[in-house]
């Protein structure tokens, strides 16, 4: 009996811990939501109001109609989608070669890719800005997406290489004996087996690209081309204290897609992250 009492005591400790953690991580988001459904007097009320009695959802309508938030979201979707597509198209064959072929300077190439993974985007953005300015490639989605793809490639290549490594080579040999070319082997045999790994890379590169800020901030200055990260900073610079509720609403709108995807896919995301972490 004493033991169960002790267990119950420990469990209560865990629950209190969970509550503290959840409050610490959710409260900032809750507060932004709370601000987003207030009117001006409520914004300045003291003591501050946590739950406005009459939430003003019309603030959201105002933001959608009077700012370019929807354009920014659309731009972000386009950029992220194109980035994921090209990252996969380029990283899958490269990861296959790094996993299954032996060639000179392979180790050197892998360490170079790892270094690129660690290099700050600010460092590469400056020469790229000069270069793109010279060739009139600023405010251009093709050059912009090329940079996004380059930033996503190192982690995708390393991750997928690890995934290919975990697939037994006997599978390749069997396919070759059956008369598959290498291309058919990758496309028809290895890709289906790699589907979970590819899903993980999609999630990792998707989140990374959705959050990307420095690159579009430096390479774009046309408001209609901004992704949501740059657009919201632009919006922030034009808001003041009495439009805080609109800024909060715009912030909530721009994280809503991520949060929805996140909660729906959370099981897979944890899988993606944990397998990524273990494989380095």
């Amino acid at each position: 009996m004493r033991n169960t009492a002790k267990e119950r005591f420990i469990n209560t400790g865990y629950y209190i811990g969970y509550a503290v953690i959840v409050i610490f991580f959710v409260f900032p988001l809750f507060w932004a939501f709370s601000l987003s459904v207030k009117n001006v007097p409520e914004l300045f009320a003291t003591p501050p109001i946590l739950f406005p009695s009459d939430p003003k959802f019309e603030n959201y309508a105002y933001v959608l109609q009077n700012t370019d938030v929807l354009t920014y979201l659309g731009n972000s979707f386009l950029i992220v989608f194109a980035t994921i597509l090209f990252v996969l198209l380029i990283a899958i064959p490269a990861a296959y070669a790094f996993s299954r072929m032996e060639f000179r300077y392979k180790g050197l190439a892998l360490i170079a890719i790892l270094i690129f993974q660690m290099v700050s985007p600010v460092v590469v953005a400056i020469p790229l800005y000069r270069f793109f300015a010279q060739f009139h490639l600023l405010n251009n989605y093709i050059s912009l997406i090329a940079v996004y793809v380059a930033i996503g490639l190192p982690i995708a290549t390393w991750f997928l290489r690890g995934y290919f490594d975990s697939i037994p080579k006997e599978l390749d040999e069997a396919a070759i004996i059956d008369g598959c070319s290498r291309l058919q082997l990758v496309w028809k045999v290895l890709l289906p087996v790699c589907a979970p790994g590819i899903a993980s890379v999609t999630i990792l590169v998707g989140v990374q690209s959705w959050s990307q800020f420095v690159i579009p901030f430096i390479l774009l200055d046309d408001n209609h081309l901004f992704p949501v990260s740059v657009g919201i900073v632009n919006l922030q610079s034009t808001t003041n204290a009495i439009t805080t509720h609109y800024l909060a609403a715009a912030s909530i709108i721009s994280i809503l897609p991520v949060i929805i995807v996140f909660i729906l896919l959370q099981r897979y995301i944890v899988g993606a992250l944990t397998s990524g972490a273990v494989k380095g």
Binding site: Y14, Y18, I21, V22, F24, F25, P28, L29, A32, L35, L43, F44, T46, P47, P48, I90, A94, A97, M101, I111, L114, I115, F116, Q117, M118, V119, S120, P121, V122, V123, V124, I126, P127, F131, A150, L153, P154, V207, W210, S211, F213, V214, V228, S229, I232, V233, Q236, T244, L247, S251, I255, V258, I259, F262, Q266, V270, T274, A277, V278, G280
Partner: protein, 316 residues
């Protein structure tokens, strides 16, 4: 030439072509060429270019410049430089310390909770991880709302409930601002450390802990003598990755303080940007960028050494 011979030549060249493609397909070249091209254009070329620019007096646009060391001398001797190093050091040091500590504790709690069949582990995990998925600039904006210094600011209200009489100048006082930025960054980065440690715990040989329990090891002994030593490799990798990430942080600080007040929260990545795009000192900014690059590469080399050592030990 007769028709038959022409046909013969055609087929043989066709056969040659096919075999050439097949041979090429068996070399790594076509498989890694796209990757190599894009990484050379968008990483290698800019890296070489930034090093070159750091030894010039070039401006942001235009081709008129000469080679000089003045960027480095003026960077290292400027009074702001030492301060920027301090600010960056504080930001990186405390961010990494608390992200590791919180990430470790939370991962352990979720792992243990799952083993005890407690409800709420998934909710807790999701709450922490959602911070990872939110763009840094939006985290900066949300925290700037929390840090509001007026009487209707929520954190100041909580502090007043706790007995603090004067509103705290979270963002307008230089020292407070640096602490505030670091706290927001810990909020953002803890998820990453948590997932690393959590992943490590998933691969954990459970019988090891049971054996330690049977041998009479207390909770703290189990933690320091069993769990931490086994997780050491993953903790080290985590340490390097988040250190690099924190050195590279730009977006969150930009949205939260813009580096201010004054330059009191101007971490290195932000300082590079301001030097170049606000003060138009390309050379000096490039020199600072080279410094950041050296930090990035040094940490990567440590990481790679470590990976190599790990895989050799794993094979042995």
């Amino acid at each position: 030439m007769t028709d038959a011979r022409v046909d013969e030549v055609k087929t043989s060249s066709k056969a040659q072509k096919r075999s050439f493609i097949q041979v090429l397909g068996n070399t790594p070249i076509p498989w890694i060429l796209p990757l190599a091209l894009i990484l050379i254009c968008i990483f290698l070329y800019p890296i070489i270019e930034i090093v070159r620019l750091s030894f010039t007096n070039a401006s942001l646009v235009g081709d008129d410049y000469s080679y000089t060391l003045s960027s480095y001398t003026s960077l290292f001797t400027s009074p702001g430089f030492i301060k920027m190093l301090w600010v960056t050091g504080f930001f990186v040091g405390f961010s990494v310390l608390f992200q590791m500590a919180f990430g470790f504790v939370i991962a352990l709690m979720i792992d243990q909770g799952t083993k005890r069949n407690l409800v709420g582990t998934v909710v807790t995990r999701t709450a922490v991880l959602s911070a990872w998925a939110i763009p840094g600039v939006i985290i900066g904006i949300i925290w700037s709302l929390l840090y509001s210094e007026t009487e209707s600011g929520i954190l100041n209200y909580f502090l007043s409930l706790a007995g603090v009489t004067n509103p705290v100048a979270f963002l307008s006082d230089p020292i407070n601002a640096l602490i505030s930025v670091t706290v927001a960054n810990v909020w953002r980065g803890t998820a990453f450390s948590m997932i690393f440690v959590y992943a490590g715990l998933q691969t954990f040989p459970n019988d090891v802990i049971e054996a330690a329990k049977i041998d009479g090891a207390g909770a703290f002994q189990r933690l320091f003598k069993v769990i931490i030593p086994i997780l050491k490799p993953i903790i080290l990798v985590n340490l390097i990755v988040i250190t690099v990430e924190t050195f590279n942080t730009f977006d969150m600080v930009m949205a939260l303080t813009g580096g201010g007040p004054g330059r009191s929260t101007e971490v290195i990545a932000l300082s590079i940007y301001n030097q170049i795009f606000n003060n138009f000192h390309l050379g000096e900014g490039a020199a600072a960028a080279v410094l950041l690059l050296v930090i990035n590469i040094a940490l990567t080399v440590v990481y790679f050494r470590f990976l190599e050592k790990g895989s050799k030990e794993g094979r042995a």
